[in-house]
C-alpha cells in the first residue's frame, strides 16, 4: 500500500510539473498548445540517452533535457507565434503527430516502438535514487522549484506582459511590447520546464516508450489545466492530482471491464472540460464565468 501511495505521489508530481508549465502559456499568455507531450518526451529521451552514455547525474540530464526542449520549441514558436492563435494550435497539433512518428521510427535514439530500457536511476550528488519513497523527495523538490520559478515570473513584469498580450495583443504592442518575442520566450520556458518532468520520468520509470508521449498525453495535461483552473497557481496541481486519481476511482466500478477504464476516463474529462467551459470556465479553483 505504501509503495502504491509513493508511486502516485511521484507521478502526480511529474504530471503537476507538466500541468503547471502548460498553464503558464495557456492560462497566462493565451497560447493553446497540443504539443506539450512532445517536450515531455524529448526531455525523457534526451535524459535517458545522456544518463546511459554520458553521466547519470541528474543535473547533467536535466540540463541536456531542458536545452534540447528549448531548442525545439524555438523552432516551433518563432514562425508559428507571429500569426493568430489558431495557427499555433494547428502547428502544435501537427508537431505532436509528427513527433510520435519520429519517436517511433528513430530507433537509434528512442529505441523505436520498443522504447529505451535500463535507464540508470537518478544520481543526486553521487547518491542513486531509485526507491519511490526517496524519489518522492526529488520529484517534490523539483515541483516546488518549478512552481516557485513560474510564480516569480507570473508576478513580474513578464507575467503582466503575458496577461496583457492575452487580453489585447494590439494594445500591448501600442505600449511598446514586442509581442512575438514575449510569446516565444514563454513557450520556450514552458517547454524547457516540461522537459524537467520528462527527465524525472525517465529516471524514475527506468523504461520509456512512445506510448507515454502521444496526443492523448498532451490532451490529458490540457484537461488537468482546464479542470483544475487556468491562470491560478493551485489549479494545475489540483487538476493533476484529480486526473491521476481518476483511473483508480473508475476501477471501483464493478461492471466495467479493465480495458474500458481508459476510455471512460477520457469521456469523463472530455465532457468535464466541455461542461466547465459552459458553466465555470475558471475550472475548479478559478472564478466563475468571466475571465
Amino acid at each position: 500500500m505504501e509503495a502504491y501511495i509513493y508511486n502516485l505521489v511521484n507521478l502526480i508530481a511529474i504530471y503537476a510539473i507538466l500541468a503547471v508549465t502548460l498553464n503558464f502559456i495557456m492560462g497566462y499568455a493565451g497560447i493553446y498548445s497540443l504539443a506539450h507531450a512532445v517536450f515531455f518526451g524529448l526531455g525523457a529521451y534526451v535524459a535517458a540517452w545522456v544518463a546511459l552514455h554520458v553521466h547519470p547525474s541528474i543535473f547533467v540530464t536535466l540540463a541536456a533535457a531542458m536545452a534540447s526542449a528549448a531548442a525545439l520549441s524555438l523552432l516551433l514558436a518563432l514562425p508559428a507565434l507571429r500569426v493568430r492563435g489558431e495557427y499555433f494550435v494547428a502547428a502544435s497539433l501537427g508537431l505532436q503527430v509528427l513527433a510520435v512518428t519520429v519517436f517511433s521510427e528513430w530507433k537509434s535514439f528512442t529505441g523505436g516502438i520498443g522504447g529505451v530500457l535500463a535507464i540508470p536511476p537518478a544520481d543526486v550528488f553521487g547518491v542513486e535514487v531509485f526507491k519511490p519513497q526517496h524519489f518522492a523527495i526529488v520529484s517534490l523538490i523539483a515541483l516546488i522549484v518549478v512552481i516557485g520559478l513560474i510564480n516569480a515570473l507570473v508576478h513580474s513584469s513578464f507575467g503582466r506582459n503575458l496577461r496583457a498580450i492575452r487580453d489585447s495583443e494590439s494594445a500591448a504592442a501600442s505600449f511598446g511590447k514586442n509581442v512575438p518575442m514575449i510569446k516565444t520566450l514563454s513557450v520556450v520556458i514552458s517547454a524547457a520546464l516540461a522537459a524537467v518532468a520528462g527527465a524525472l520520468y525517465a529516471s524514475y520509470m527506468s523504461f520509456i516508450n512512445v506510448e507515454s508521449f502521444t496526443l492523448d498525453t498532451s490532451v490529458l495535461v490540457m484537461a488537468m489545466v482546464i479542470i483544475g483552473g487556468t491562470g491560478t497557481v493551485a489549479g494545475p496541481i489540483v487538476g493533476a492530482a484529480l486526473l491521476m486519481l481518476l483511473p483508480s476511482a473508475i476501477s471501483w466500478i464493478d461492471f466495467l471491464p479493465q480495458t474500458e477504464v481508459g476510455a471512460l476516463q477520457q469521456i469523463i474529462y472530455g465532457l468535464g472540460m466541455t461542461l466547465l467551459m459552459i458553466f465555470r470556465p475558471g475550472g475548479i479553483v478559478g472564478r466563475r464565468a468571466g475571465v
Binding site: 514562425p79 497539433l93 501537427g94 490532451v219 490540457m222 472530455g270 467551459m277
Partner: protein, 289 residues
C-alpha cells in the same frame, strides 16, 4: 506508372479532404467558432453509416442515417454548447476547449461501442479495375471526385446566388449586415453548422469503404481540415478546397519517397512551410491585427 497510380489515389483522397475541410472552413469562416469537434462529426457519420449499412439496411438508409447524425450533432453542439458559451464569454479558448472535450468524449464512446480496431465497409464498389496497365482505380475514386465536384459546385452556387448564402459570407465580417437582410444571425450560424456538417458525410462514407475506420480517425481529419483551412487561406473556401486537394496529392505522392508512416509528417511539413512563408495561405486575405 506508380506515379500515376499514386496521383489518382491522391486525387481521390484529396477530393474527400477538400469536402471535409471546406465543411470546417465554412463553419469557422462564417461563425468564427473554432469547431474542433468537426473531426467527431466525421467519426459519427462514418460509424453510423457503417452500422446501418453493415446490418443490412441498405445504402439509402445508411446515407440517411449518416447525414442525419452529422447534421444533428453539429446543430446540437451549436445550440447546447457554443451558444451558451458565447452568451457569457465566448473567447477562442473556451469554445476551443469545449469543442475539443466533446470530440474526445465522442471518440471514446464510439470506441466503446464499436471497438478500437480498424473496421471497414465491404462493397463491390471498392474493387479496383485496371484502367491502363499498372494503374488500378476503383469506382469509388470516381464517385469521390464526382461527389466533391457536385457538392462544392452546389455550395458555390448557394454561397454566391442565394440570400442565405450571402448572409453566411457576411456573417463573420458584419453580423449587423445580416440583420438588414431581414435574417437572424443566430439562424444563419446554425445553417453554417448544418451545411458544414453535412459536407463531411460523403467523405466519411467513402472513407469507410476505402481506407477504413477507427475511432481515432477524427484527429487525422481535424489536422487535415485545419491544415487545409490555413494553407488555403482563412476565409477562402476555394482556397481550402484547393489546399485539400493539394494535401491529398502530396500525401499520396510522398509514398514515392518515404514510407507510409511518414505521410502525416508531409501534411505537417506543408502546413509549417505555409505558416512560415505565406501565412495568408494560397487564396486568403491578408488580415491586419
Amino acid at each position: 506508372m506508380l506515379a500515376i497510380q499514386l496521383a489518382i489515389t491522391g486525387l481521390q483522397t484529396g477530393a474527400l479532404y477538400a469536402l471535409t475541410a471546406v465543411g470546417f472552413s465554412l463553419i469557422f469562416g462564417s461563425t468564427r467558432i473554432f469547431h474542433f469537434a468537426h473531426g467527431a462529426t466525421f467519426v459519427i457519420a462514418a460509424y453510423l453509416f457503417y452500422w446501418v449499412y453493415g446490418t443490412g439496411w441498405g445504402l439509402v438508409p445508411g446515407v440517411l442515417a449518416a447525414t442525419l447524425g452529422a447534421v444533428f450533432f453539429g446543430l446540437v453542439l451549436d445550440r447546447l454548447v457554443y451558444v451558451p458559451i458565447q452568451r457569457h464569454e465566448g473567447s477562442f479558448f473556451t469554445v476551443f476547449v469545449a469543442s475539443f472535450g466533446v470530440g474526445i468524449a465522442v471518440q471514446n464512446v464510439i470506441g466503446m461501442i464499436f471497438g478500437r480496431g480498424f473496421t471497414s465497409v465491404s462493397t463491390p464498389l471498392s474493387r479496383s479495375a485496371e484502367i491502363i496497365p499498372g494503374v488500378y482505380v476503383s469506382p469509388l475514386a470516381w464517385i469521390a471526385m464526382l461527389c466533391t465536384a457536385l457538392l462544392l459546385g452546389g455550395l458555390h452556387f448557394f454561397l454566391r446566388r442565394t440570400h442565405t448564402g450571402a448572409a453566411l459570407r457576411a456573417l463573420a465580417d458584419d453580423p449587423e449586415l445580416v440583420r438588414t437582410f431581414g435574417l437572424n444571425p443566430r439562424r444563419i450560424a446554425a445553417t453554417a453548422f448544418v451545411v458544414g456538417s453535412a459536407l463531411v458525410v460523403p467523405a466519411a462514407i467513402i472513407t469507410s469503404a476505402t481506407t477504413g475506420l477507427n475511432p481515432t480517425i477524427g484527429h487525422h481529419v481535424m489536422l487535415i481540415s485545419l491544415a487545409a483551412t490555413i494553407v488555403g487561406g482563412i476565409g477562402s473556401i476555394p482556397g481550402t478546397m484547393l489546399a485539400g486537394l493539394l494535401l491529398g496529392l502530396a500525401e499520396s505522392l510522398a509514398l514515392l519517397v518515404v514510407d507510409s508512416q511518414w505521410t502525416e509528417a508531409v501534411t505537417f511539413a506543408i502546413l509549417f512551410a505555409f505558416i512560415v512563408i505565406r501565412p495568408s495561405g494560397l487564396l486568403g486575405r491578408v488580415v491586419a491585427h
